[in-house]
């Protein structure tokens, strides 16, 4: 352990929410320390207030939220007592921060180098030439390939992982004593996540910083934490060293969170006689071409390269891969949002990929999709009931009947029939995903394609939605094509798993075979990248 004096010390902090919020306080009497050379993980689900204390430290509290009690001591001074101007001098200089969304956290119109140089400029350090040199050195330090090119790149030209590295470079530019990382890897896929975690740990040790690491993922906690603070409804429920909390959780909520991690417990292989397949995909190919310009050659991306598999009625097949592996394109081809270049796709005998016009419109109902983003996939101006009834109505069901059916479906997915008259923004993420499921079910499909359907949700909500899917599948004798980047989730729900990379199927087999006895190096690599694996193995 570390006997250094704490860099940051939060004492009895209470933050009041504006009137009309769903509770009075964002956090209540929260106390914890972050010491030099340690990674303090603040864990909780969305709405637990885990990010709020960090915002108070940065002086970036949302409008209307204010501190009513307690103190935040940084290097002996109370940050809550600072004026905005004094606080600004600390930000970026002595306290750095990384955010969750690398896709939106960088200014899209500014070059990466300029955005890093801005940190020096904000604190009046160095000449503009030195700023560029230092930006380059930082990019090198955070391991961006070809830093001399990256420094002139715009954010959209970098991948998610690279952007997060840029964010880290920015946060570390002035060698702050405290780094706050707010869900820095949540939006990344497993292998990138593993790399970024490695980078943060590495930099933290090299520079001896104090790190406050906010996450909802206990797997990540097991990877990086020195100490852990578990939060719920704005209060600290458990505080201790990583070992204590992970191995002997005292509070029942911590235990519940630990149990909700999709585990590697693999369903028993069911002796299956293979009935005639519901979906048969044969030699599917799809190439995306970008037109070339004067200076750059036309680019070809093989999204699907000779993909074949079958899915039996009642089966759940998981498609696992990193972003860019072609897994989403495959899903979109199956629901015919995308047309494959060649190959066939047959649905209990009918060639689904050859259908056109009216015939396609009639058959479409048999395959429905649940999308990743429960926020973006519902029209904010349509009432939930209408959003669900739209599909059946387009297929000729009378309005009254379709609305009645929508009520029944909402009941079925556990939201209650009253939900029909409400708008999507009135629901939480998990509830919206239930609406998405009800919408997919409205057309009475035989096959449901779920594209990262639970990736945006908290672990405990994830577990609930997966449970619901499993239950509905049994009740309505559905088949499921489950697309995910998260092997842990796949392990929980899938009968068989297909691993994809660069548009090709790398490995396929029953969930047990793939997860316990992976044949391919790439599958093993994916499995090794899962955060918290070592811990889990130790616990088993």
């Amino acid at each position: 352990m570390n006997d250094n004096a704490p860099v940051l010390s939060i004492r009895g902090l209470t933050l009041a929410l504006p009137k009309g919020a769903d509770r009075d306080y964002a956090v209540e009497e929260v106390s914890y320390d972050v010491a030099r050379g340690e990674i303090m993980c603040v864990v909780g689900e969305s709405g637990s207030g885990k990010s709020m204390a960090a915002n108070a430290v940065m002086g970036l509290l949302p409008k209307g939220v204010r501190a009513t009690a307690g103190e935040v001591l940084f290097d002996g001074q109370d940050l809550l007592a600072l004026t905005e101007k004094q606080h600004r001098k600390l930000r970026g200089l002595r306290i750095g921060m990384i955010f969750q969304e690398p896709m939106t956290a960088l200014n899209p119109l500014m070059r990466v180098g300029a955005q890093i140089a801005e940190v020096f400029e904000a604190h009046g350090k160095f000449t503009s030439k030195e700023r560029q040199q230092r930006a380059l050195a930082l990019l090198e330090e955070v391991g961006i390939p070809e830093p001399d090119k990256a420094i002139r790149a715009y954010p959209f030209q970098l991948s998610g992982g690279q952007r997060q590295r840029v964010m880290i470079a920015m946060a570390l530019a002035l060698e702050p004593e405290l780094l706050i990382a707010d869900e820095p890897t949540t939006a990344l896929d497993v292998t990138t996540q593993a790399q970024i975690l490695e980078l943060i740990r590495d930099l933290q040790q090299r520079r001896g910083m104090a790190v406050m690491f906010i996450t909802h993922d206990f797997g990540v906690v097991a990877e990086v934490a020195t100490r852990v603070c578990v939060m719920r409804y704005g209060r600290v429920v458990e505080l201790g060293t990583a070992q204590e909390v992970l191995e002997n959780p005292r509070h029942e909520y911590t235990r519940a969170l630990l149990e909700a991690i999709p585990s590697n417990i693999i369903p028993d292989a069911v002796a299956q006689e293979r009935p005639a397949p519901l979906l048969e995909v044969r030699n599917l190919n799809k190439v995306f071409r970008s037109r070339g310009g004067l200076f750059k050659p036309a680019r070809e991306v093989r999204a699907l390269d000779d993909v074949s598999f079958t899915l039996a009625p009642g089966e759940t097949v998981g498609i696992v891969g990193e972003s860019g592996s072609g897994k989403s394109t495959l899903g979109r081809c199956v629901v015919r949002l995308e047309r494959p270049d060649s190959g066939s796709l047959s649905l209990s005998g009918t060639d689904f990929s050859a259908l056109k016009g009216d015939e396609l419109r009639r058959e479409r109902r048999r395959v429905q999709m649940i999308f990743q983003d429960p926020y973006a996939s519902l029209n904010p101006r349509h009432r939930v009931g209408y959003a669900i009834a739209q599909g059946p109505m387009a297929n000729g069901v009378a309005r009254r009947q379709a609305m009645q059916q929508a009520e029944e479906l909402l009941e079925l997915v556990g939201l209650g029939a009253v939900a029909v008259d409400r708008y999507p923004h009135e629901f939480s993420g998990g509830q919206r995903q239930r609406i998405g499921i009800a919408r997919a079910l409205a057309l009475n499909p035989e096959l449901i394609v779920a594209d990262e359907a639970v990736s945006a949700l908290d672990v405990s909500i994830q577990a609930q939605v997966l449970e619901l899917l499993e239950e509905l599948k049994q009740k309505l004798s559905l088949s499921l094509l489950f697309i995910t980047h998260d092997l842990r989730v796949a392990a929980q729900i899938c009968d068989s798993i297909i691993v994809m990379q660069h548009g090709r199927i790398v490995e396929q087999g029953t969930a047990q075979e793939v997860l316990l006895r992976p044949r391919e190096a790439y599958t093993r690599q994916l499995l090794d990248a899962i955060p918290g694996r070592a811990h889990e193995a130790a616990m088993a």
Partner: protein
């Protein structure tokens, strides 16, 4: 250079579009009721058939339509826009004589409305929920809703008639014989009222749009990142929020710029400004079709040019566009 190639491609397309516009306009005018020769003859007081026949022959109106079209299109290809029967002058000369006055007026109004609108909009965005911000927005709404000619007339009443600060009409003091700097000053004085009047409406639109756009941009994650760097509020406002908020403004400015030839009829009429707008109005009343066609051509050409310019500016402002095309 990427831009050179792009410009060439766009210009080639523009020529095709212009050609189609010329043909379309030609038939549009053909369909208009009334025989120009009859009107001309009527105003001259002569109505006998022989005179009409002579007029038609002189202007080629007796030829079949396709011959007339061919003559017209091939004429334009050589920058010959025909003859204005009414003014007794070549159309091109008439337009070129009036074009500078209009471009001066509309150009000034354009720059004025854009600059003031963006400044006012940024101020309103920075003072959201404060009285000063609300005052800016109330003014913008007022200018947006008030008819242009009424503002123009009231401005004349106040500044020319009542206060006597500014001239009420025209482009320069007739008979003063100013030259050099004195002339510039004289024109500038005459320009103030019409240009401001014309600018108000668009200024109001830019103000509202800039404010809305900036408020949206200020919610974005990169603004939080900028604050986390410890940047001063002014820098964040300019470099991060305003730059991102300007993208939709560019689109709108391109639309306004395209209206620079034909969009000032009302203002030019009220202030007796010797520009294209008034020329067009007169041509319309007098059925001076060749002149009308000529003006249509020029305003179409200007719209196309400003479309190209807008696209280029947009590319400069947003690096993501280059990649997509």
């Amino acid at each position: 250079m990427l831009y050179a190639r792009l410009i060439v491609m766009r210009l080639l397309k523009a020529v095709v579009v212009l050609f189609l516009i010329v043909i379309f306009n030609f038939f549009l005018i053909q369909m208009a009721p009334g025989d120009p020769a009859a009107i001309l003859a009527g105003e001259a007081g002569a109505t006998d058939e022989e005179f009409l026949r002579q007029l038609r022959e002189r202007f080629g109106l007796d030829q079949p339509i396709y011959v007339q079209l061919w003559r017209y299109v091939s004429g334009i290809a050589m920058l010959d826009f025909g003859w204005s029967y009414r003014q007794g002058m070549p159309v091109l000369d008439l337009i070129l004589a009036r074009l500078p006055a209009t471009l001066l007026l509309t150009g000034t109004a354009f720059v004025l409305s854009l600059a003031l609108g963006i400044v006012a909009g940024s101020m309103a965005a920075a003072r959201v929920k404060k009285p000063s911000g609300s005052i800016i927005m109330a003014l913008a709404l007022l200018f947006y809703a008030t008819p242009l000619f009424w503002v123009a007339l009231m401005a004349v009443v106040l500044f020319s008639v009542f206060l006597g600060w500014l001239p009420a009409y025209g482009m320069y003091t007739v008979g003063a014989g100013h030259t050099g700097f004195a002339l510039v000053l004289d024109v500038a004085k005459h320009l103030i009222l019409p240009a401001t009047t014309l600018a108000l409406f668009f200024m109001a639109i830019y103000t509202r749009m800039t404010r809305a756009s900036m408020l949206e941009a200020s919610q974005q994650d990169y603004v939080k990142t900028a604050r986390a760097k410890g940047l001063a509020p002014g820098v964040i406002q300019r470099r991060h929020i305003l730059r991102n908020a300007l993208l939709p403004i560019i689109t709108l400015a391109g639309l306004q710029a395209g209206q620079m030839v034909g969009g000032a009829i009302l203002t030019e009429t009220v202030f007796a400004w010797p520009g294209i707008g008034r020329l067009m109005f007169e041509a319309l009343q007098q059925r001076d079709y060749n002149l009308l066609l000529g003006i249509f051509f020029f305003s179409a050409a200007l719209v196309i040019v400003f479309n190209i310019i807008t696209d280029l500016v947009y590319r400069l402002a947003d690096p993501r566009i280059k990649e997509a095309s």
